[in-house]
């Protein structure tokens, strides 16, 4: 009898020993900690290049989605866990700036960045990348149905794209729980104004728009061109998603199965920023890292790691992006300050209309 309890304990201990922790922090001279969200990714060699150049060890602290990571930084602003924060976007930016978590820094490389990304920042944070939240559509479905791809937000209220009895052709994410959902809501507010956007959404509702909570469900369950093979041929996703579909296809593709609607004012441009956290013990290195993030080496790594576009126009784009992805010429624009003031109110109003 004895030996069975013993063996139970032994098995657990062996398991523990077998998976014994490998020391993760090799004693380097200095560590630079970057706090970010779960979607952050970087190539090994790119990170290594920085580490070698400045004789520093990079540590990445990931903490859930953008909201979670930002919350973490805000809650810990008196005793920051990291030196650099990366990943706050223009829907959250003003809030972060208000909380005063960032140290001002104007990178010399910023001069090379188009004004579109730097306007109104007053040197607190640095734009790193951007992505357009656009409606993606199932190319095969539209080809087969003979239906024309919608060319504007207004088109989406047409009966042809709807189904008054049930589910229409478009699936969107809940702005209360999803980043692209919020971005798309902002696009509609930019287009129809604070007074008109709810009417537009009412029309979408009548037309059977499907609302789900998260991008994963929208894309993988509802969207017909994804692996989930859902019912909706249109989904709110990113302009880069078609490229990702090609790169991560289960067998080589010559053509993307999906495409984005990038007509004027249909997309919302999310810009992601990096900032130096107040109270860092390595301000010098933090500045170098911000510079590095703007350098072509990092900027060219961004598209395939995170499926966003670099803000530095000098950074070359991968072939798949050039072939299968496109950016909106005229994305919807909203002032980050106005977003910060009204964001919560808009979401609550939207929920009242769409979810009740």
């Amino acid at each position: 009898m004895n030996k069975f309890i013993f063996s139970l304990v032994t098995v657990l201990l062996l398991l523990l020993a077998a998976c014994s922790p490998t020391p993760t922090q090799t004693p380097g001279p200095v560590t630079l900690t970057i706090m970010t969200h779960d979607s952050f990714a970087i190539s090994e060699d790119v990170a290594q290049a920085f580490e070698e150049e400045f004789n520093v060890k990079l540590v990445f602290l990931k903490s859930g989605d953008t909201g979670a990571a930002l919350n973490r930084a805000i809650l810990m602003k008196d005793a920051p866990e990291a030196d650099v924060f990366y990943g706050v976007d223009n829907t959250f930016l003003s809030r972060a700036v208000q909380e005063g978590i960032f140290e001002s820094y104007t990178s010399p490389v910023l001069a090379e960045i188009p004004e579109e990304f730097t306007a109104g920042l007053s040197g607190v944070v640095t734009p790193i990348d951007y992505g357009d939240v656009c409606i993606n559509y199932d190319r095969a479905w539209f080809a087969a149905s003979g239906l024309e791809v919608p060319g504007s937000l207004e088109d989406l209220t047409l009966p042809a794209y709807g189904n008054p009895q049930g589910e229409g052709l478009l699936v969107v994410e809940n702005p209360a729980t999803s980043s692209p959902g919020l971005a798309f809501l902002l696009a509609t507010i930019a287009e129809y104004g604070e007074d008109g956007y709810l009417d537009y959404w009412r029309a979408l509702k009548t037309n059977g728009v499907v609302v789900v909570n998260d991008w994963e469900t929208a894309y993988y369950t509802n969207f017909s061109a994804s692996s989930g093979k859902g019912l909706q041929p249109m989904v709110v996703s990113y302009a880069t998603s078609p490229a990702a579909e090609v790169i991560y296809a289960s067998e080589p593709l010559t053509e993307a199965p999906t495409a984005s609607i990038i007509d004027p004012n249909t997309c919302f441009r999310q810009i992601e920023y990096a900032g130096i956290l107040k109270g860092t013990s390595n301000p010098e290195l933090a500045q170098r890292f911000i510079d590095f993030m703007l350098s072509p080496r990092f900027q060219e790594d961004v598209p395939l790691q995170m499926f966003v576009y670099p803000v530095n126009p000098q950074a070359g784009l991968p072939a798949e992006f050039l072939r299968f992805a496109a950016t909106a010429e005229e994305p919807a624009v909203l002032d980050p300050v106005i977003i910060a003031i009204n964001r919560d109110e808009w979401i609550r109003e939207w929920s009242e209309v769409m979810l009740k």
Binding site: C19, A41, E44, V210, V212, P257, F307, R343
Partner: protein, 564 residues
């Protein structure tokens, strides 16, 4: 000298040594971060919106109550079948019914999607049969989906907790009721049911608390129209950045949990039915009459449909290519492939955060093993303390259950705020994850062990002592042996809870030690058939790892108790 003796006597009498570790753990790793984060939350800017409290509170209670009733409705017959009958594949089915427990909601959503989604196997099959191009079953984003998922997740609790008590019940009690003229139904209602009141209430409480704190199921299967308190905390804290509101909702959720547990304590008072350990296998038999056979096969069929089919759909999905030909929508080309598994071993984008499946498995197992060790130790100590040195029993019981009602978001943030910069968070090995998992797992161990311990007559340990067993040996050779089965049940739950936990983990996991659920989520975060397939493959690996661990532990259990 006398001071030392006096101190020792005090420790002995108060059982302070038994209480110290569990209470210390709850104080340091639950209350300390909780109070830290709540006080931080209320010191931040934000507004309290009273109207945003009622709706989630009502819905949370309503869906939890309904889910619990349904889980009992389907779980009790299954518990009966498992405790009374022997049938082919019983052990396999019992292991399989535990599996849902481990699954992160992302995977469960994917599994239900693979089975019941618009292009799930069932809809595809029905559409082929009827030739109707519209999907006959609309399952996802409905209230039904929430209820089904809750039953899917929690039926194992009812089967385990009630089933094990049922199999310990002296069959002669029901027989004697029969002799006294009670019909089988009346014998059941008037004898068996009252005797099983405690385990049933115990299971119902656990199920209810789990459903009450439901997050992923609501978010991913229920859809935006449904909001529980836990979901509300998430949106208020992480989307609106309205921390005071999140704090208020957290407190309401905690208060409800405490209230429900205290209420349960009141209802559950009264004598413990002594369950003198009975022979295993006694009373378990093959179904004999056609009626029994019908009930057994119906139960097996039901459990198979509910528990096994979604998992099977997911596993099949991980080896199936579903690629539509260009321009030919609807005509889905299917084929078997191992590509998704092969690709798991390729760091296609050269990412720094790429993790080998084996490494993710190792991380998960390590955390699960640590969680099991911590929670069985602490849970057993607590059980001993509660049985031997009872002290404010009902309140402490409720306190132990509190972590169920603590929102993962609040606790995650609390851990970060409270332990930032401490060796706990920074050390080479992240202890916070197993500790956080243990907070949820410990009540399971306690619930399993406490009744088993209370049922041991004191004369057994005394006679061991008279026979020359030191207190340690008497404890080890008698009490521990007699509770070993209960302990094992607790350990099983701890292990699986840890393997599948995602919410708190995603907050505090270090990016270089991702667990399996975290790895699955990484693949699901990006578009592309390959990513989706890899997520399914990773989920299949999680299921396999868990099934293997469970089988191993079940083997140990039967070895421990002689032949099955």
């Amino acid at each position: 000298m006398s001071l030392v003796r006096g101190a020792r006597a005090f420790l002995n009498r108060s059982g302070l040594l038994l209480w110290a570790l569990p209470l210390g753990m709850f104080a340091l790793f639950f209350f300390y971060p909780l109070f830290t984060i709540l006080s931080t939350m209320f010191s931040r800017a934000g507004e309290i919106i009273p109207s945003a409290v009622w709706e989630p509170l009502l819905f949370t209670s309503y869906q939890a109550l309904l889910s619990t009733l349904l889980t009992l409705l389907f779980g009790l017959p299954a518990a009966w079948v498992f405790s009374q009958f022997d049938f082919t594949g019983k052990r396999l089915l019992r292991t399989l019914t535990m599996l849902p427990f481990i699954l992160p909601t992302v995977v469960t959503a994917a599994a239900f999607n693979a089975l019941l989604g618009p292009r799930g196997w069932i809809n595809v099959l029905l559409m082929r049969l009827t030739g109707d191009p519209t999907t006959p079953i609309n399952f996802l984003n409905t209230f039904t989906a929430i209820l089904v998922a809750h039953v899917f997740y929690n039926i194992a609790i009812v089967i385990r907790v009630v089933g094990s008590a049922w199999s310990q019940l002296d069959p002669r009690l029901e027989q004697s009721a029969g002799v006294l003229g009670a019909s089988p139904w009346r014998a059941f209602v008037s004898v068996t049911l009252p005797l099983l009141r405690r385990p049933i209430l115990s299971a119902a409480l656990l199920v209810f608390l789990f459903d009450f704190a439901s997050f992923g199921v609501i978010l991913m299967l229920g859809g935006p129209a449904y909001q529980t308190l836990e979901v509300a905390v998430y949106t208020e804290a992480l989307r609106y950045l309205n921390l005071p509101m999140a704090g208020l909702l957290s407190i309401i959720q905690l208060a409800c949990t405490l209230g429900i547990t205290l209420l349960y304590g009141r209802v559950n008072r009264g004598r413990v039915v002594p369950l003198f350990p009975r022979l295993r296998g006694e009373g378990v038999r093959k179904p004999r009459t056609w009626r029994e056979r019908l009930i057994v096969s119906m139960t097996v069929a039901f459990l198979f449909t509910l528990q096994v089919l979604p998992l099977a759909a997911l596993v099949t999905r991980s080896v199936t290519r579903l690629e539509a030909d260009r321009g030919q929508r609807g005509e889905v080309q299917t084929g078997l492939t191992l590509d998704f598994y092969r690709e798991l071993f390729v760091n296609k984008s050269q990412s720094l955060f790429y993790v080998l499946p084996a490494a993710a498995v190792a991380n998960s197992l390590r955390f699960a093993a640590l969680t099991t060790i911590i929670s069985t130790t602490v849970g057993t100590l607590l059980a001993f303390a509660m049985v031997k040195k009872p002290f404010a029993h009902r309140w402490l019981d409720a306190v132990v259950m509190l972590p169920f009602g603590a929102s993962a978001v609040t606790m995650g943030l609390g851990f970060i705020v409270a332990f930032n910069g401490t060796p706990l968070a920074r050390g080479a090995f992240p202890w916070l994850i197993p500790l956080a998992h243990s907070l949820i797992a410990t009540p399971f161990v306690l619930r399993a062990v406490q009744p088993a311990l209370a049922a041991i007559p004191t004369s057994l340990t005394q006679s061991a002592a008279v026979l020359g067993a030191s207190p340690f040996r008497a404890w080890w050779e008698v009490e521990m042996k007699l509770i070993s089965r209960a302990l094992l049940t607790g350990a099983l739950f701890s292990f699986t809870i840890s393997l599948g936990e995602f919410g708190a983990t995603s907050f505090i996991a270090r990016s270089d030690t991702p667990t399996l659920p975290v790895a699955i989520f990484r693949y699901l975060g990006q578009p592309g058939a390959l990513n989706y397939g890899q997520a399914m493959a990773m989920a299949t690996i999680l299921i396999l790892v868990c099934a293997l661990s469970l089988t191993l532990l079940e083997q140990l259990s039967s070895a421990l108790n002689g032949a099955d």
